[in-house]
C-alpha cells in the first residue's frame, strides 16, 4: 500500500466560524490534600524557610520535602531547612502567559528558571521565577537568592517566595 490520499477535512477560520458548535464550560474545582511531605514544605515556606527531606538510605537531601524516598522506597529520615540561595541551572525568557496569550510589549518578560538550592544534594532544583534582573543579564550558573513576601503576608505557598534575584 502507498498512502496517497488521506481523509479528514480541515476547516478554515471562515468555515469554522460558520460551523454549528456546542459550547461547554466545565465546572472543575479541586482542593488537593497536601499530606505530610508537601504539608511540611508549605508550613516552612510560611516561616520563610525552604524545607528538604533527607534519606539515610541514599544520603540525598531532596527538594521539595517528601515523606518517602522514591528511589530507596523507604520513609525519609527527617526534614532539614536548606539555604534560600542557589544557582541557576537553566532559564527561559518568556513572552507568553500560561495560556499561551502574548505578554504586552510594556510588560516585563517572565523569567522562569530551574534553581539548584544550596544545601540540598547536587542537582536538587525547583522551578521558580527570577526577578530584579534584566533578561540579557541572566546566565546559567548565576548565584541567586530568594526574595520573600513580608512575614505577615505569607500564606504557606510557593508564592511566599516572590522571586529569586541575583546575589551581587
Amino acid at each position: 500500500m502507498e498512502i496517497k490520499k488521506v481523509p479528514c477535512k480541515g476547516l478554515s477560520t471562515e468555515e469554522y466560524d460558520k460551523a454549528l458548535k456546542v459550547d461547554w464550560q466545565p465546572e472543575l474545582a479541586y482542593a488537593w490534600d497536601n499530606g505530610i511531605g508537601i504539608g511540611a514544605y508549605l508550613a516552612a515556606l510560611k516561616e520563610g524557610k525552604i524545607l528538604a527531606a533527607k534519606c539515610d538510605g541514599c544520603g540525598r537531601i531532596m527538594l521539595p520535602a517528601r515523606a518517602f524516598c522514591e528511589l530507596c522506597f523507604r520513609p525519609t529520615d527527617g526534614y532539614v531547612a536548606v539555604h534560600d540561595t542557589g544557582v541557576v541551572n537553566t532559564f527561559a525568557v518568556s513572552h507568553v502567559n500560561w495560556d499561551a496569550s502574548r505578554l504586552k510589549e510594556k510588560d516585563p518578560r517572565h523569567l522562569p528558571a530551574v534553581i539548584e538550592i544550596d544545601g540540598a544534594s547536587k542537582g536538587q532544583g525547583i522551578l521558580h521565577i527570577l526577578g530584579n534582573v534584566k533578561p540579557g543579564d541572566v546566565k546559567i550558573g548565576m548565584k541567586v537568592r530568594a526574595v520573600w513576601k513580608p512575614a505577615g503576608e505569607r500564606t504557606g505557598s510557593i508564592t511566599d517566595i516572590l522571586f529569586f534575584e541575583p546575589v551581587k
Binding site: C8, K9, L11, S94, W98, G125, I126, L127
Partner: protein
C-alpha cells in the same frame, strides 16, 4: 515458551489539520477503517482494540477513551485506552504488541487519536494542569517554559547555537512536503526559523510543532495470521518504555536518560547491539526541533552532543547515512500528539516495505526505530521494526 512474534500488517492515517470538521470518534473511525481496508480485514476479524490518546483536556471529555470507543470499533469488543502522555502514540503499538505477543488475541487494532482544537481558546490552557498543583501551578507556568528551559540547558552543555538546532525544523518541514497528511510542510531557511516570533527564549514559533487534529491506526497480527494477510509484514521486534521521576527539576535536563533506558529495552529485545550501525531509518519524536537531536542521542544513534553537527552535515537527510524523520515528523506533518507517534511507526512500516512513495529513502532499509516522548520530560517509548 516465550512470546509470539508480532507484525504490523495494515495502516491508516488521516490528514493532520488545525481544526477538523470531524469529531474525535469520526477521526478514529477514518483511521481505523483505512487500516482495516489496507489489509483486507473487517471489524469482525478484530478481537481486541487498544486506543492511545493524550490528555482528556484536549478533546474536552472526561473518560475520553469511552467517548472515542465507538469510532475505534470498540463496541462489543475488548477495548482499552493506554496513556503515557506525549509518549502515547508510540506506546499504543507497544500496548497492541502485549495483546498479540501474549496470545490474548491474533489480531489487534491499535488506534491513536487527538483532537486538540476542541480546547478553547488554545490547548495550551489545558497544559497548566500538567504542573504540580501545589509547588508549581501557582507560578502560572506554561508548557513552553519547560521546553525553553530544557533547550537552553542542552545548548549550554554542548555550546550549540539556535541555528544549529533550526536545521532540524528546516529539514523536517521540507520532508513533510511529500507527506499527504502534512499540516505545516514548507520550504524554510534557517533564518526563517530564527526570525520567527519569539515565544519563550530560546524557543520561537517555528521551533515548535503546531497543535492539530488527526488520527492514525495500525493492525497488528500474530506471525501465522500475518503471513496469511501479507507477503510483506513489518515485524515489531523490539519494544521499550520508561518513566522518570515527576520531580523533573531535580534531574539534569541536557540528556534524556529515560529515552536511553527505553531504547536499551527495545534494542535488547530486538537483538540490536550497535544501534548507530544497525538502524537504517529513524523517527524520533520532534515536537520541538532540539528534541530530535536530544532523542537521537538518547536513542544511541550518535554520540552525545554530536546530533547537531551530523544534522548540519546531511547525515540525517533522506539521502544521508541515517535518514531521520523522513516523514516530516511533528514539525512538518503536524502534532496531534498520540496520532503523531503512531504516524511515525506507520512511516517505518511504509519505508521498510518500500512503499513510502516520494518519501522513500534509498537502499532498501530493513531496520527502523520510532520513538515518542512526553509528560514532564519523563517518558520514552521506543519500537524497533524490521522487514
Amino acid at each position: 515458551m516465550g512470546y509470539r512474534r508480532v507484525a504490523i500488517v495494515g495502516a491508516g492515517l488521516t490528514k493532520f489539520v488545525r481544526r477538523a470538521q470531524e469529531t474525535g470518534p469520526e477521526l478514529s473511525w477514518q483511521a481505523s477503517k483505512m487500516a482495516l481496508d489496507s489489509c483486507s480485514l473487517r471489524l469482525k476479524d478484530v478481537e481486541m482494540i487498544t486506543l492511545g490518546s493524550a490528555p482528556d483536556g484536549f478533546d474536552g471529555v472526561h473518560m475520553k477513551g469511552e467517548y472515542l470507543l465507538s469510532g475505534a470499533g470498540g463496541s462489543n469488543k475488548s477495548y482499552i485506552r493506554n496513556f503515557v502522555g506525549g509518549g502515547t502514540g508510540v506506546f499504543a503499538p507497544i500496548h497492541g504488541w502485549m495483546h498479540v505477543a501474549s496470545g490474548a488475541c491474533d489480531v489487534c487494532l491499535v488506534v491513536a487519536e487527538e483532537k486538540m482544537s476542541s480546547c478553547h481558546p488554545t490547548p495550551q490552557g489545558a497544559f497548566i494542569t500538567i504542573f504540580d498543583h501545589t509547588t508549581e501551578q501557582p507560578l502560572k507556568p506554561t508548557l513552553i517554559w519547560i521546553f525553553a528551559l530544557e533547550m537552553r540547558r542542552y545548548m549550554e552543555r554542548y555550546g550549540l547555537t539556535r541555528a544549529d538546532i533550526a536545521r532540524v525544523a528546516v529539514k523536517n518541514k521540507k520532508n513533510a512536503m511529500d507527506h499527504p497528511s502534512a499540516q505545516v510542510a514548507g520550504e524554510y531557511t534557517v533564518d526563517d526559523i530564527l526570525n520567527s516570533e519569539v515565544l519563550a527564549e530560546p524557543v520561537h514559533r517555528l521551533d515548535i510543532s503546531p497543535a492539530g487534529d488527526g488520527a492514525a491506526a495500525v493492525v497488528l497480527a500474530s506471525e501465522d495470521v500475518a503471513k496469511r494477510l501479507t507477503d510483506r509484514p513489518v515485524w515489531l521486534d523490539g519494544v521499550g518504555w520508561n518513566l522518570d521521576t515527576s520531580y523533573w527539576a531535580t534531574k539534569d535536563l541536557y540528556y534524556p536518560r529515560y529515552v536511553e533506558k527505553a531504547a536499551r529495552m527495545a534494542y535488547d529485545m530486538a537483538g540490536i547491539k550497535e544501534p548507530h550501525k544497525e538502524i537504517q531509518v529513524a523517527e524520533p519524536y520532534d515536537p520541538f526541533d532540539y528534541k530530535e537531536l536530544h532523542h537521537m542521542e538518547g536513542l544511541l544513534l550518535c554520540p552525545r552532543g554530536e546530533a547537531a553537527r551530523l544534522t548540519a552535515e546531511g547525515y540525517t537527510a533522506r539521502t544521508g547515512n541515517l535518514p531521520t524523520c523522513p516523514s516530516g515528523g511533528a514539525l512538518g506533518v503536524g502534532n496531534p500528539i498520540a496520532a503523531t507517534g503512531l504516524m511515525k511507526v506507520i512511516e517505518l512500516f511504509l519505508q521498510l516495505r518500500g512503499e513510502a512513495g516520494k518519501r522513500q529513502i534509498p537502499g532498501k532499509p530493513r531496520v527502523g526505530v520510532a520513538q515518542a516522548w512526553g509528560d514532564l520530560m519523563q517518558v520514552g517509548t521506543v519500537v524497533v521494526c524490521r522487514s
